[in-house]
Amino acid sequence: MIKILFFAQMQETIGVPSINMELQDNTVGELKERLTETYPSLFASQMAMVAVNENYATEETVIQSGDTIAFIPPVSGG
């Protein structure tokens, strides 16, 4: 089981702040493809970065059971 976190506009697109999913030994890129099947517009409008367990990761990063994945749309703090 992995936990996926969404923020800002992406959270509104999904309708919830987080979802759990059974997933193991898949890459971040593969997770994005799976999410796009359910939410076609999720990654369409803006380029999101991704963090695995609170560290910035890449499309090739491999996800393990127990990981927390966060999609990070362009930030606007300050």
């Binding site: 380029m47 966060a70 749309p73 362009p74 606007s76 703090g77």
Partner: protein, 157 residues
């Protein structure tokens, strides 16, 4: 959520509290930056702002910015507090305090810290207007991340 020097909080920010964290007998200067909620942006009137954060990662990234500043300008102390939740016009959204033996570095390091916050700390703001609302993306509108993530460290300009 808070570490010793860096915090993300829904409570109103207090300048004195942030300054106290960087006070030091070695300091000859303390600079502070206060980011406040602006009423008018590109001709549109904001009623209030809503800030959201990925809190544990945001605190970790603020700590990283503190480390970057210490590495680049040895002898500095950095404290950053960022507020989340609903903020009214004029309220402080972020306070950065930097102390240094000499003033020039205190200014430079403080300016570096806010640019890094806007680059890579997972915090977002939503403008609420009289007749609508919008999550704001990267404000420069020009930043792209070819590697899918921010640069490890900002190039010095």
């Amino acid at each position: 959520m808070t570490s010793e020097m860096h915090e993300v909080t829904s409570e109103p920010l207090q300048l004195e509290h942030v300054i106290r964290k960087v006070e030091s007998p070695a300091a000859g200067a303390i600079t502070t930056f206060i980011g406040t909620v602006r009423e008018w942006t590109k001709g549109r009137r904001t009623i209030y702002l809503e800030y959201q954060a990925y809190v544990p990662m945001a605190v970790a990234m603020l700590e990283q910015i503190g480390h970057e500043v210490n590495t680049r300008w040895p002898g500095t102390k950095v404290a950053i507090s960022h507020r989340i939740g609903s903020l009214n016009i004029g309220e402080a959204a972020v306070i950065i305090a930097v102390s240094s033996p000499h003033r020039r570095v205190a200014y430079e390091a403080n300016a570096y810290a806010i640019e890094r916050i806007k680059d890579m700390v997972p915090i977002w703001k939503k403008e609420h207007w009289e007749n609508g609302e919008k999550w704001i993306g990267n404000q420069a509108g020009t930043v792209v991340y070819p590697d899918g993530q921010p640069e490890k460290e900002m190039k010095q300009t």
